[in-house]
């Protein structure tokens, strides 16, 4: 019996040692700050303020989380800045620091990238502030718009990034129920609202990147099995997919856009970027949906600039085979913005900020 206990203890010690070694090594691969959820802030969650964020799983990047819980090197100092809100595409941790489209836009603005636009320079925002959260898509952004404008009242321009234009009736209806705002949930204050247990648990998770990765792998496996089961069920069932009523979609979307327009009097931009597919013949094909045309029209009718990056992406591909998504450690055409994708977005947004109307 004693021998078995000694063996078990030895194996447990070996496992513990291995965990320590592998965990230390994981800091070179992935650093994930604590994730703090909130219900009365500009976004549904923020990172643990004043920490570091790094990844080498998709692309490679290392970033600083500012005091507000967003991925920026600085926070805005002067009013009239450009606020860019979006999902992980905007967060852009997959590219090197300084190569995200918000960073490139900052560079363009600070260099005064002008020629004939010189006389409009004074109308340009001085700074671009990145307010993005993983999984934060248009309906959620719209729902949190009131809180966004309260948390960042000095923004002169707001850009909403979206990769989709098709949303369910439920999503659009929910978007109209605006979230409240509570400044106690700002990045500077939120830690004081957390219990000591939650803070401790968050810090432990930050110190254990190995655990975070293993949990994520397990979730991926679970999702994969769920997808496979769902695919099999869909193949078995003869359910016909219910088609959306285009009239309802248009009405609901218009309500949301009107609400956004009423909430914010400054320049409002929807930055749209489609999925793309690399076709067998070598061409790049953007996804095209009927909803996109409706979305663009309703934006124009409500005084919102609809910046569609589709043509810019196609032009960039035509010029030098730049693909807007994908990395050397994943595959091209899928995933988050590549350096080329960020560059295209920055140039499109810069044109809009300079010209003012998207044309």
């Amino acid at each position: 019996m004693g021998r078995w206990i000694r063996q078990a203890a030895s194996w447990a010690a070996a496992l513990f040692t291995a965990v320590c070694i592998c965990n230390a090594a994981m800091f070179l691969y992935e650093i994930q700050p604590g994730w703090i959820e909130r219900d009365k802030g500009a976004t549904l969650a923020i990172w643990d303020p004043d920490t570091e964020l790094a990844t080498a799983m998709e692309g490679r990047g290392r970033y600083h989380v500012d005091s507000k819980g967003y991925v920026n090197d600085h926070i805005p100092e002067e009013p009239g800045y450009c606020l860019v809100v979006g999902a992980s595409f905007t967060q852009g941790k997959e590219v090197e620091n300084g190569k995200r489209y918000t960073d490139l836009l900052n560079e363009m603005l600070s260099e005064g990238k002008v020629g004939k636009e010189q006389n409009t320079k004074s109308a340009l925002p001085s700074f671009v502030y990145n307010v993005s959260q993983e999984g934060y898509y248009f309906p959620d952004i719209a729902r949190g718009f009131y809180a966004l404008t309260r948390e960042f009242p000095d923004a002169g321009v707001i850009v909403i990034e979206t990769g989709k234009t098709a949303f369910s009736d439920r999503e659009l209806t929910d978007a109209l129920n605006q979230r409240d705002y509570d400044e106690k949930q700002n990045g500077e204050n939120i830690l004081t609202t957390l219990s000591s247990g939650k803070r401790f648990s968050m810090k432990i998770k930050e110190a254990l990147p190995l655990l975070n990765i293993l949990v994520r792998q397990a979730e991926t496996v679970k999702n994969k099995w769920a997808d496979e089961a769902e695919t099999m069920n869909n193949q078995r069932s003869n359910e016909k997919k219910t088609e959306k009523d285009p009239g309802t979609y248009s009405d609901k979307l218009e309500s949301v856009l009107q609400m956004l327009r009423e909430e914010f009097s400054g320049k409002l931009v929807i930055a749209y970027h489609p999925d793309v597919t690399i076709l067998e013949d070598g061409s790049l094909s953007p996804a095209r949906y009927a909803e996109t045309e409706v979305f663009a029209r309703l934006c124009r009718e409500n005084g919102i600039i609809f910046a569609d990056a589709t043509q810019a992406m196609l032009d960039a591909y035509e010029e030098d085979y730049s693909v807007p998504y994908g990395f050397m450690n994943t595959s091209m055409g899928k995933g988050h913005f590549s350096r080329a994708g960020h560059r295209v977005m920055a140039e499109e947004l810069y044109k809009i900020l300079v010209r003012g109307d998207g044309r």
């Binding site: 030895s10 194996w11 010690a13 070996a14 496992l15 040692t17 291995a18 965990v19 070694i21 592998c22 994981m26 190995l210 990765i213 293993l214 792998q217 991926t220 496996v221 994969k224 690399i278 076709l279 067998e280 013949d281 070598g282 061409s283 790049l284 085979y321 693909v323 994908g326 050397m328 450690n329 994943t330 595959s331 091209m332 055409g333």
Partner: protein, 470 residues
């Protein structure tokens, strides 16, 4: 049932438990036979009767060969009959569609609507069946009177799906032992299984990301990107198949069986012939023993040797797949082997040279052979002449396109290079894998690190083994 599924994990644990509580070679044979048929049924129950039927036929033919040999009548009739049954089954299920398509294409007739499913593991277990008959006929082993043992040999679950193909005279003696679970087998087999798992889910599956993307649309990618993908596929197919073989070998070893080594660092080969002595060793040795040597081998003059070599490789290509692309692949390998035999060996004998020159020549030969093999993997992967030509054209004309040099191809390529250099330095160019001595604490830490890193870096995507389709 994939080795990578929870179902298999539960199945295997239950099997180990039953093996642990039972005793005796005969009992263990029954347990393993039942487990093998449960495993096969879980994969594809529709063809369970076919597997049993082939095994029954081989058992009977084997007994009649033995009886005829006792009466000094040779038994060739029963050998021919048995092998014909095997080839008929293989021909109908694997090649009928191919023949029908070829016939339709040649005579410009509409393709028949008939679609025949390929039974799981058919190519592998039919070859094992033929091995049994041939070994009995050649006197390498006695005919087996026990149907149980023949059923178990042909249907043994660790290797029925994708090999290794174990020759009958190597396997049957192992059945006579009591397969009690031992710590030594558990340690060796478990570590081999983990090594195979790493090769498959960390290396091969991750390389597949690049290969699938580029091979789906080669017209989009630059010559350099395509070259990287070609290199990545050479690594992917090796790690995928070697990984599966390691897992099969590891599982079998846990149960007390030795299935032999199926890969021996094939990209360290300095010639096409050497490549086939290192790659899928069980298949190439099968073709050597049961096709090349019966055809006459190298005993009937140079011309006949070259023909035998070429035919053997052609058949090997067709074994891999029922299409002209695979036939061409086999034929090209045959041509490369013939060319090397005709011109390469002679030069090696004539040019003694200095040690430095020999090393340079050796390195050059290894690199050249690797390049030839990698290029020949292209039609193997595409199964399409048009796409193969497109890929080759874009590589050799260095056409511009999407720049995509997959990082993991470089990392895993460097890893393989280090392994090969170590093999050359410490084991005369042979595989250096050895199980860790788990009585030592440091070995336990290394094993735990290995398991954790496998879990971290496993690519959770399509995990179907490449060779399972054969």
């Amino acid at each position: 049932m994939s080795f990578l599924s929870i179902r298999f994990g539960i199945f295997f644990l239950i099997l180990l438990l039953i093996m642990k509580v039972t005793r005796g070679a005969k009992v263990h044979q029954w347990v393993l036979l039942a487990a093998s048929y449960v495993f096969y049924a879980a994969g594809d129950w529709r063809f369970l009767a076919l597997l049993a039927g082939v095994s029954l036929a081989m058992w009977q033919c084997g007994l009649r060969i033995a009886r005829a040999a006792e009466k000094e009548k040779g038994g060739k009739v029963w050998l021919v009959l048995g092998v014909s049954v095997d080839l008929l089954v293989l021909g109908v299920f694997k090649y009928a569609g191919f023949f029908a398509d070829t016939f339709s294409a040649v005579f410009r007739m509409p393709r028949p609507a008939l679609r025949i499913f390929l039974p799981l593991g058919l190519s592998f277990y039919i070859f094992q069946a033929i091995s049994y008959l041939a070994d009995v006929y050649m006197g390498k082993m006695k005919a087996e009177s026990s149907l149980r043992k023949v059923l178990l040999y042909i249907g043994f679950f660790p290797q029925i799906v994708s090999g290794p193909i174990v020759k009958a005279h190597d396997f049957f003696p192992q059945l006579e032992r009591d397969h009690e679970l031992t710590w030594e087998n558990l340690s060796w087999g478990g570590q081999r299984l983990l090594t195979g798992l790493f090769k498959k889910v960390v290396v091969a599956d991750r390389l597949g990301v690049c290969v699938d993307a580029v091979y789906a649309a080669p017209a989009a990618y630059s010559g350099l990107s395509i070259l990287t993908a070609v290199f990545a596929y050479a690594l992917q197919i090796y790690y995928d198949f070697a990984g599966y073989s390691d897992m099969a070998t590891g599982i079998a070893r846990i149960l007390g069986f030795d299935l032999g080594r199926n890969f021996n660092l094939p990209y360290l080969a300095a010639s096409p012939s050497e490549f086939w002595r290192r790659w899928h060793i069980s298949l190439s040795s099968w073709f050597r023993d049961y096709v090349y040597i019966p055809l006459g081998g190298n005993r009937k003059g140079k011309a006949r040797t070259y023909l035998n070599l070429f035919l053997t490789m052609l058949l090997s290509g067709l074994w891999h797949g029922a299409s002209w692309a695979f036939a061409a692949w086999g034929a090209l390998h045959g041509a490369a082997s013939v060319l090397h035999k005709a011109f390469g060996g002679k030069k090696e004998r004539e040019e003694a040279g200095s040690p430095v020159w020999k090393k340079v020549r050796y390195v050059f030969s290894v690199i050249l052979n690797f390049c030839v093999v990698s290029i020949l993997w292209i039609p193997f992967r595409t199964n399409d002449f048009g796409k193969t030509l497109l890929i080759l054209r874009r590589i050799f004309t260095w056409t511009p396109g999407i720049y995509y040099v997959y990082v993991y191809a470089l990392i895993f390529g460097a890893g393989l290079l280090v392994t090969e250099l170590a093999a050359v330095r410490y084991n005369r160019g042979n595989d250096i894998w050895r199980p860790l001595d788990l009585s030592r604490f440091s070995s336990r830490v290394i094993l735990c690190c290995f398991i954790l890193l496998t879990a971290v870096f496993a690519y959770i995507g399509d995990s179907a083994f490449i060779y399972a389709q054969f």
